[in-house]
Symmetry: C2
Subunit: 332 residues, 2 copies
């Protein structure tokens, strides 16, 4: 089952540490780009020296072309900074249904309590079709992890995209030590139970397939336990341990970065645009419904209404970069 280079440490996440674009000007050759984002920086501590592999999904045409070119889905080391990365060429429609349809339109909305509940969500036949894709997507990850893992290896499965994978992997490889980490909030039971009972149970038992289910805060870990009690009955019904692990920014990196020349240049340009002697309120966000960007603008207006002495003296700079443009609700 395990390949010849069986890994001792495995990471699984939807987005990997590298992505590819097709360069039309260079005759359709592929250009690799190492990614940013919270997960990539949080997990890059697992360096190239560890006997590790990162399993991720192909997200676009460039990625798919790279997988077809790659040896067994393992990307060339020169593209990944030496990290072993196995990219899964999941059917594009299956991926869209699992990622956009279920993970980002249902699970993200449930855990952030974003729904306009009188009208949404609707759990109809279309939802069931997308749910089957979400199962297939999770199964593809579980299968690849089972193939790559050495006996007794540690597997770290990331986030709400892969809630079913721990249990699926446990069945394929009972020898593995499996962790699941939720990088998002977890909804309280009254909101989580908007989900159909069978779906709610699948998500919970999926994560309970892990030896350790980890959350960023005590509050969200408690919410997960509350949901287990409410949906599955009293007591966590497996040996799963619940952990709380804050995952902060890399302060040392950021402090160092803040004093590099290109940052100074950008700061000077921004200063000039804002004007001498003015205070600034700066925010940088994905254009994401949970980020409360509109309320931030309203709060700034309220500040100027309540404290007119600050007019002309404080400038609000809101950087919002596009995200999830595949979802109509975000484009709106």
């Amino acid at each position: 089952m395990a390949s010849t280079h069986a890994a001792e440490v495995l990471v699984a996440s939807n987005r990997g540490p590298v992505s590819y674009t097709v360069d039309d000007e260079a005759g359709g050759s592929l250009r690799a780009r190492r990614g940013g984002g919270g997960l990539v920086s949080g997990l890059s501590a697992i360096g190239p020296d560890a006997n590790a592999v990162w399993v991720c999904a192909a997200l676009g045409d460039g990625d798919r072309a790279a997988v077809h070119r790659a040896d067994g889905g393992l990307l060339p080391a020169e593209d990944t900074g030496g990290q072993r990365v196995r990219m899964l060429d999941i059917d594009a429609e299956v991926h869209a249904d699992a990622y956009n349809g279920i993970a980002n339109s249902v699970l993200w909305f449930v855990h952030h309590m974003l729904y306009q509940t009188p009208l949404e969500p609707v759990f109809d036949a279309e939802f069931r079709r997308q749910w089957a894709a979400y199962e297939a997507y999770n199964r593809a990850f579980a299968g690849a992890l089972a193939e790559e893992a050495a006996e007794g290896a540690a597997v770290l499965i990331q986030d709400y995209h892969l809630a079913l994978a721990p249990r699926m992997l446990r069945r394929l490889r009972p020898d593995l030590r499996i962790g699941h980490f939720s990088h998002t909030p977890w909804a309280p039971p009254d909101y989580f139970r908007l989900l159909p009972d069978d779906i709610a149970a699948e998500l919970l038992t999926g994560i309970l397939g892990a030896d350790r289910a980890a959350f960023l805060t005590r509050r969200w870990a408690d919410a997960f336990k509350d949901c287990c009690h409410a949906v599955l009955g009293p007591g966590i019904p497996s040996g799963t341990r619940i952990g709380v692990h804050g995952l902060g920014a890399d302060g040392d990196f950021l402090r160092k970065r803040a004093h590099e020349p290109d940052v100074d240049e950008r700061m000077a340009a921004l200063r000039q645009e804002i004007g001498e002697g003015r205070r600034t309120i700066v925010r940088v966000d994905r254009t994401e419904l949970s980020k409360n960007i509109v309320r931030g603008l309203l709060a700034y207006r309220q500040l100027l209404d309540d404290h007119p002495e600050w007019r002309e003296r404080v400038v609000h700079v809101a950087f919002a970069y596009p995200s999830r443009q595949d979802l109509a609700v975000y484009r709106d």
Copy 2:
């Protein structure tokens, strides 16, 4: 402080057991109508023999005219079936801001988790203005109850409209036994804390002014306690006891009513319209966002999709009667 006919039992609710319309055809005279609704039938067990008074708000022009005509706000016994009813002529704009603005647009939405949270609620200066009206409305009830109550009387304050009144009344009349009953769900802390911290604390300490805070289910009573812990700190910070009291329909009344001649007539007409030999799925609701009327229609469609053998053989009858037409979101 207490009037000459000081009451031993007092009920307070926004809507009273009687309402008035101005009859233009009868030269502007007032026509009294005894009300329906869950609260009225639930509380009508307090009959005219008890030394009781019901304190409520004037809801329209007819009610206001009746209050102006009434002796100290006590409505004529012939209009109320003998019950003592004191109707409060709260300024129409104050009532609208308290009832539509805060109670039904904010508190109802919080407790039923109805908001489209990325965009609403917004707690701006307009909200603060309406909140002041909600405080004034609660203060009017507390003042009237303090005037009407005999030494040591029992006061039953109803629902989310009057969350502040228990504490206000406690300050005016420490001798009284005060109960507060929530006829709605109570939101879990993660949702309740959408409210500004000071507002959340006012609502909780308002109800904690009662000796007993009662809820329809254990789940909602627990949610209230969880909110107290989350907002006010560990432990219920007063001597308030939390109670769970189901408030069912009057089964004997309904069984008897179901066999009266006018019901038989309506049943026969309905039967004819539906057609012989067909099953029916009947629902009767206020057109209220929390009632899930749209999802009911979708579920019926799903039934016919999944079980085509039921087509033409089962008819869904949905009676929806207008409600809260003062709120734009309901008209939409």
